[in-house]
Structure formats: structure tokens, C-alpha cells
Amino acid sequence: MIQLTSVSKSFENKLVLDHIDWTVKKGSVFGLVGPNGAGKSTLLRIISGVIKADTGQVTVDGEFVYDQPLVKKRILFLADEPFFLHQSTLKEMKEFYKIFYPSFDEEMYAKLLNNFPIPENEKINTFSKGMKRQTGLILALSVNPDVLLLDESFDGLDPVMRLTLKRFISREILNRNMTVVISSHNLRELEDICDQIALIDNRKVVMSGEVDTIKGDFHKIQVGFAHDVKEDIFAFLNPLHVDKMGNVFVVVAKGEVEKLIEEIRSLEPVLVNELPLNLEEIFVYEMEGRGYGKTV
């Protein structure tokens, strides 16, 4: 279990994380979302022990992480830009990781190599961006960590590779009870693989929980009227978003769907219909509700 208690971090007097309390259960796949500069990468770097929190505590299974090799042996952090030694090959990078991670699984490595067409003895700096990402992921998964932290690691992969990776990760979670935290802007990706999700905004975790629970808490309802009405008619619902197309409205609001529909019916609409809502829309509406990107 990853436990963050009142974690704060500043860079050059700029507060990036403000008293974050957050828990990631063992064996879960946590998606970390948030606008640019929200502090997602900083949070992952603190969890992995790259940087030290200014205040608060970070523990993995009850042990502090920063500068603690025994704990860090069980954590692998794959940054948004994968690192490779100068002029190195995948084989050399394997040797590099094997030095530090005794858990490095040669069998897994061979299996991954079969699935990802990466030449083992070619210089990595000649690879495309996507191939470099695959290389990073092959190494990260071969390390077989208890905690895998992926910082936008799927970006740049083609759909086939993304799917293959997702399958791998899903299988490993089942097999090894691995804990995975994935930060990404692509919520559709996260929706497929994550069972929990957290939203970071304004230096804090503003939303965190099971994907299904979150999805169940947000509702998109289509409402049609026989006559012209104004948007503010829905103000009493505290909607996150209201769209108007003639006399038809699309309202996004939080709460119990039955209660919302009942309240909307009191406005005597001619049409009330719940529409499907995906995680990305939830993220967008939630952020709009917080004033992010609203003016665009």
C-alpha cells in the first residue's frame, strides 16, 4: 500500500503539492489525472523517492521511501521520457537494471521481447520515439516490481502496442498483486485499465476513488422542452455543464441519477433521458467546473 500523509512540495517558493493525503491500495491500478502542471509527475517522483517531500510522509507498505534502497528495490518509476545510457543497447540496459533490481525476470524479459519487436543489440538512440517507449516498458516490466509508477508511459505507442501492454499489466496485477500508478492525459486509456482514479488540481487531490463509483456519481441528462427556456433554469442542480441546442439541453451534474431526474421532471420537460458519460468527459466537466479551460 502506498500512503501519502500531508505531503507538500515547493519548487523555488512555488507550491506544487499542498498537504496531499492519498492512499493507493495494494494490487490496485490507480489512474492519476489532472491538468498540465497540476503536480502529477511530482507526486510520482515523491512516491518513487526521486525527490523528498518538504513536509509529510510517504510510505510503501509502511516503510519510508526516500534514500531507502531496500524499499526502492520494489518500486520502479518509468518517467515520461525514458532514460537510456549513452550509446547503449537494450541488452546493456538490461545489465544496468539487473545490477540494481535483483527481481529482474529474464523469463519475462524474453517474453516481452517476443511481443515487442525491439532489436536487443542495436543502439537505442537509433530507435523511434515509440520504440524507445516500448524499450522502457520492456525494462520496467521485466524488473517485476511490487510498485510500478508509469508517468505518461503509454503516450507515443501505437494502438496495438498499447493493447498488448495493457494485457500484460492486467495479467501481472492478477499474478503478482502488483500496484500500478499511471499518470496520463488519455482518460480513455485509463478507463480501460484502472480500477481507481484520482484527480489532482490546484495542488491537491480533489477526487479519488473507484472508477465505477466516480462514473456513477456523474450523470449526463438530455432534457427537451416544448417552449423556449433559459439555461439558468437548471441552476438549482449545481450543474457542472449545461449545453443548449434550441429547446434541448444536455445537463451534467453530480448526484443520484433518480433524484436528479425527478427534480428535472418538476420543470415539466417533454423529454428526459440519461446519456452515457465516459471518464474523459467527467474529467473535462469536473475541470470546467473548477474553471480550467472554460474560456477556450
Binding site: F11, I75, Y101
Partner: protein
């Protein structure tokens, strides 16, 4: 505290790093092999014989390559520090930061030293096999010094890397940190020579020996004659420096933030401190150099060019540091502050006699001993002609109260001489001889003496002064004549008879050297040396300087410490040398009789009416120069600098015995 010094080397990672950098080691190894054993072999192919000098040159070359690789390797090994993503990955690795740092540092040392060691061994095995009488201990010492100082050269570069965010800045400031001691020393010496009367450095190499590891590695390795300070102690000093700075750099390594990794400076104080100090000392150096070159003394017009030259230099550093001109105004203001400080210090230092440097003469009570070099045009105390005789050591140290008082008195007399002649109006003291623009008499001016005095104070400090002055100003030094040191310098073979292996000439002449008798086999040399020394030292300064006894004979002595190294002296004897005369008599030697000369020689005899007449000096010249007085004054009757002391007369025969 124990935690502070605890670290673990990750052996697997160490091997990995060394293996990964094998190609670099092979490359440097090949370069070193070409410049050491292959160079010697090539020389053999050309000359058909082996030359020791070529091997020494090879050793110098591979040491230069070693130093070059010390500058390159940290940028190979610690390059991840200059990339945010790389630093994140390294710091995410399950290894303590201090362990990662020390493992990488140890790998760097191994990568630097492995090729050097291999080539050094191969080259010297080859050297052993072809050159005889090889000093194996010396070779081992040279290797030890190179290894011992490697860390101390490496650490300033790593320190610069820890405070900068890019490789270029790291390299630039690593170089600056290494050249700052040399420029600082250069600025000090140039300033002293330009504006400080009597400026001298007690031990010219001492500062750099302790301030510059690069200078020190070459000095310790190749200056095999150095005995003080003890080279081993200096190497221990540099090992300690390397270890201490390793921990200072560790501190910066541990607090290094990846957010700042790609910025020019990760420590906001680093650039202002280093660049300001560097600019300050470069300005000081250039002011002094331009004043010396112009020969106009402290003239502010002379300082305009170096001021603006350093302004451009500072702006270039500022533009590199800020990657543009956005902080140009701030840079100009910073430079204005540095410029004002350096100009102010320089001006005050010049106007106020180096803050007391010029006028300071130590109190005799505080002086433990004095090192004196005195080169007068007449060779009164020391004749320079035997300075190239390495077989006899020169006695420079004066430690008796009387000698110390004499030298201090002479020092004060020299300063008085300068004061009376308004030294501040002179343009360059070091040009005293060649520059005819002083208020002194030109003839007297030409007859200059150089005096270098190094006071060893009881506190352990040293004060050194050097003057080139008219002979008369330093004449108080002639009072040292009764010093044992002077005796040993004038007659090294009598001062140290045990060093003499054989005498090729050991004769006694009559005063005009017209007739001689060999003393070899008749007089025991060691007994002679002891008797003469005893006689000489029994004379006081008054008796030395105002002899009233005529010369009875002149010993012509050529002594050798080995077959190649021989030294000649003409040693006068008169009635004051009682023990010597007694020894000669007891050995059955009669003084040779003067034969009639068919010419009238010109000699210099003391003027009995002149109290300052230094007859003993003339005695020392007699005979050695084959009875030729190398002054033209006696013929031209010109006024000459020692006219106060001696008269030049044609010697009538009745004055000679």
C-alpha cells in the same frame, strides 16, 4: 558522525561502469603507449641507442595525458547530472545517493588510472631493461605522486559540475577553478614587481605547491631535487584535500535538484562568487602588467585598457551564464562594483607602499635566521664564479645574533638609500641597471649589487626582499666577513674538507706568484683546512677589513669532490694566520721567495688612511685571477664606486715581502 563517513561501493555497478568505459581506457592507453614506450623505441631506431631523456619526456607526456583524462572522465561518468530525466532515473534507483556518488567516483578514478598504470609499468619495465643505474624508488615515487594527486585534480572539476547544470558550464568553471590559483599568484607577483620596492617571494613555488594540484603533480613528480617542504607531506596534504572536497561535493550531489539540472547554474551563488573573484584577480594582474610594460608608474591612463578588457571578459562570462543579454544591466552593475574594488585596492596598495610592505624591516628579536644572497660587482663576500660548482653547498643561512644585526642594518641602509633618492619617482626598481633614468650617478649606477634577504621569523613566517642597488648602499653587508658562512662560501673546500676527494693543485706562491712550492705530500690537507679556518675565524671584522700585515704567500688550491667537479681558490696568508704558518713550518715548508719581476704589476692595496678599506677582498682576488685586477680604473683614473674604500697604486717592490 560515523554515518557521515559511511558508504558502500556497489561492486557490480563499479564493474559495469569500468566495462562500459573500456573503449575510453583503450584509447587513452594507446595514446600513452605511443608517447612513452613507442616514443623511446622510435628514438632508438633513429639513434641506435637509448636515451634517458626520451624516457623522462615520455613520462611527462603520459602525465599530461593523465591530467587531460581527469578533465574528461567526470563528464563521461557524471553526465546524468546535467539532464533532468536522467537524474530522475538515477535517483529512483535502489541505491543510496552517497553510495551511487562514491561508486561513480571510484569508477572515475579507476578509468583514469588503469591505462596510466599499465603504460607506466610497461614503459618503465622497458626503461629498466635498456638503461643502467635506474632509480627504482624514484620511479615508484613518481607513480605514487601521480596517483595521490589525481583525486585532488578531479574534485574541483566535480565541484564545478555540482554547481552548474550543463556540461559546458561545468567544464568552463572546472577550468577556471584550476587556473585561479595560478592567476592569483601571477597577479600577486606582477603587482609586487610593478609597484613594491624590494618585492620578493620567499619560496616562489610554495604557494602553487599548496594551491594548485595540477602545478603540484608536475612539481612533485619531476622536480626531484625538492626537499622542502617534504614532497610526501605535500602529497598527503593533497590526498586530504581530495578527501575533504569529496565530502563537500557529496553534499552538493545530495541536494542537487533535477528541476535545475539543465540550467547553467544549480547554485545561485556559484557564478557571482567565482566570476567576481576571477575578474578581480585578472584585473589586478593586468593593471600590474600594463604598469610594468608602460614604465610610467601609477598612471590611470595606463589602467583604462585593462579595465575595459576585463569588462569584456566579464560580460562574456555573464552572457554565457545567463544564456543571453537579458541580465546585461545587472552584469554591468556587478562589474562596476568589482572594478571599483580592484581599482581601489590597487591604487591604495600602490600609494601606501603596499600597506607597509616596502618599509617593513623585521625586529632582530623576532628573527630566527636569515637567508642571504649577495652579488656585488667585486665578489667581496661571495664570488659568483663558484655558484655553478654543485659539489660544494653554498652557505646562505645566517643565524648568529651578530650576523642578523648586520644584515638588518644593511637592509635599513638600503631602504635609506632609496628614501634619500626618492624612490617613488622611479619607474621600475627591477630595471635599476638598465634604465638610466634614476637620480644616481651613472657610473655608480652601473656598479650594482643584488641583495636578496629572506627573514625566517621565529613565528615560522618568512619575509623576503630583493634589491638591486648601487654597491655602496649595501656595503654594510661587508661586515659579515668574519662570519663562518662567508668563510665557507669563499673557501668551500676548506669549510668542508671531508667533501674533498683529491687536490689536483696544492701549491704555495710568493705574493706576486712568481715562484711556487708544491704542498702535496708535505702538508696534511685536512690539518691545513682546520688551521686556516681557525685563523680566519679568530680574526674579527676590524682585523679582516683593516689588515696592516703584508701578504706572505698565496696558496693555490684546486680541490675536487669527484673527477669532474673541481674548484680553484687563491688563499692569501699573512702574519695573522698564525696556526697556518705554524703548520707549514712544522711540515718543513719554507715560504717561496719572490723573484725579480721584469714588469711592475698593478695591484690594489689598502689605503691606510681610509677606515673602510676592505683589503681582504682584494686578497681573495689576488692569484685567482692570475694577478690581474679586472678594473680599468687604475689606468683611467676614473672615479669609481669603491674609491672610498681603496686606492689604486702601482705597487713598489719595497711594499712586498
Amino acid at each position: 558522525m560515523a554515518k557521515l563517513f559511511s558508504f558502500n561501493i556497489n561492486g557490480a555497478y563499479l564493474r559495469f561502469l569500468i566495462k562500459r568505459n573500456a573503449r575510453f581506457m583503450i584509447l587513452t592507453g594507446i595514446a600513452m603507449t605511443v608517447l612513452f614506450p613507442i616514443l623511446a623505441f622510435t628514438n632508438y631506431l633513429i639513434d641506435g641507442s637509448y636515451n634517458e631523456f626520451v624516457f623522462t619526456t615520455g613520462r611527462v607526456f603520459i602525465l599530461i595525458l593523465l591530467v587531460l583524462s581527469i578533465f574528461i572522465v567526470p563528464f563521461l561518468m557524471f553526465s546524468y547530472l546535467n539532464s533532468k530525466k536522467n537524474l530522475d532515473v538515477y535517483h529512483a534507483l535502489p541505491i543510496r545517493r552517497r553510495d551511487l556518488y562514491f561508486t561513480t567516483l571510484l569508477a572515475s578514478l579507476a578509468i583514469i588510472l588503469i591505462p596510466y598504470t599499465i603504460v607506466y609499468v610497461i614503459g618503465n619495465v622497458y626503461y629498466f631493461s635498456v638503461i643502467s643505474n635506474v632509480d627504482a624508488v624514484l620511479l615508484f615515487k613518481q607513480y605514487y605522486f601521480a596517483v595521490a594527486l589525481t583525486l585532488s585534480i578531479l574534485m574541483p572539476i566535480l565541484f564545478a559540475m555540482m554547481n552548474t547544470g550543463t556540461g559546458v558550464d561545468g567544464l568552463l568553471y572546472g577550468l577556471l577553478l584550476h587556473i585561479i590559483p595560478s592567476i592569483l599568484y601571477g597577479a600577486y607577483v606582477t603587482f609586487g614587481n610593478a609597484v613594491l620596492l624590494g618585492f620578493s617571494v620567499a619560496d616562489p613555488s610554495l604557494f602553487l605547491l599548496y594551491a594548485s594540484p595540477i602545478w603540484s603533480i608536475f612539481e612533485l613528480t619531476f622536480n626531484t631535487s625538492r626537499i622542502f617542504p617534504n614532497p610526501i607531506l605535500i602529497s598527503v596534504y593533497w590526498i586530504a584535500f581530495g578527501l575533504i572536497t569529496s565530502w563537500i561535493v557529496l553534499y552538493y550531489y545530495q541536494i542537487r535538484r533535477s528541476e535545475k539540472a539543465e540550467e547553467p547554474f544549480t547554485n545561485r551563488w556559484f557564478f557571482p562568487v567565482i566570476s567576481s573573484f576571477f575578474t578581480f584577480i585578472v584585473q589586478f594582474f593586468l593593471y600590474s602588467a600594463f604598469i610594468t610594460l608602460s614604465g610610467r608608474g601609477l598612471d590611470f591612463r595606463t589602467l583604462i585598457f585593462p579595465f575595459f578588457l576585463t569588462f569584456v571578459m566579464y560580460l562574456i562570462l555573464d552572457v554565457i551564464a545567463n544564456r543571453g543579454f537579458k541580465h546585461l544591466v545587472r552584469g554591468i552593475i556587478n562589474f562596476a562594483i568589482i572594478g571599483a574594488l580592484s581599482l581601489g585596492t590597487f591604487t591604495f596598495g600602490t600609494l601606501f607602499d603596499g600597506f607597509g610592505y616596502i618599509t617593513r624591516v623585521p625586529n632582530a628579536n623576532n628573527v630566527e635566521k636569515i637567508e642571504l644572497d649577495y652579488n656585488d660587482p667585486y665578489g667581496f663576500l661571495f664570488s659568483s664564479y663558484y655558484y655553478d660548482q654543485p659539489s660544494f653547498s653554498i652557505q646562505k643561512i645566517y643565524s648568529s645574533e651578530e650576523d642578523i644585526a648586520t644584515i638588518i642594518k644593511a637592509h635599513k641602509a638600503i631602504l635609506d638609500g632609496f628614501k634619500e633618492n626618492d624612490y617613488k619617482k622611479w619607474d621600475g626598481y627591477s630595471d635599476l641597471v638598465s634604465t638610466p633614468r634614476t637620480p644616481l650617478d651613472a657610473t655608480m649606477y652601473k656598479q650594482s649589487s643584488s641583495v636578496r634577504i629572506v627573514y625566517h621569523l621565529k613565528s615560522g613566517a618568512k619575509i623576503a626582499r630583493y634589491y638591486t642597488v648601487p654597491f655602496g648602499w649595501a656595503s654594510d653587508l661587508l661586515d659579515l666577513v668574519d662570519s663562518e658562512n662567508v668563510f665557507k662560501n669563499r673557501y668551500p673546500m676548506l669549510g668542508n674538507p671531508d667533501a674533498v676527494v683529491r687536490n689536483t693543485i696544492f701549491d704555495i706562491f710568493d705574493p706576486l706568484m712568481s715562484n711556487s712550492i708544491s704542498l702535496s705530500g708535505k702538508v696534511n690537507f685536512k690539518l691545513f683546512a682546520a688551521a686556516y679556518k681557525s685563523d680566519y675565524l679568530s680574526l674579527n671584522e676590524q682585523q679582516h677589513n683593516y689588515p696592516e700585515t703584508p701578504i706572505l704567500g698565496i696558496i693555490n688550491l684546486t680541490s675536487c669532490t669527484s673527477t669532474e667537479m673541481c674548484l680553484s681558490r687563491a688563499i692569501p696568508i699573512d702574519a695573522r694566520y698564525v696556526q697556518t704558518l705554524s703548520l707549514l713550518a712544522s711540515s718543513g715548508v719554507s715560504l717561496p721567495v719572490l723573484t725579480t719581476l721584469d714588469y711592475v704589476p698593478i695591484v690594489v692595496l689598502p689605503d691606510a688612511t681610509n677606515e673602510k678599506s676592505p683589503f681582504f677582498h682584494i686578497q681573495s682576488l689576488l692569484g685567482y685571477t692570475d694577478f690581474y685586477i679586472p678594473y680599468s680604473y687604475s689606468e683611467t683614473k676614473e672615479v669609481n664606486p669603491i674609491s672610498e674604500r681603496v686606492d689604486y697604486i702601482e705597487i713598489p717592490e719595497n711594499r712586498l715581502v
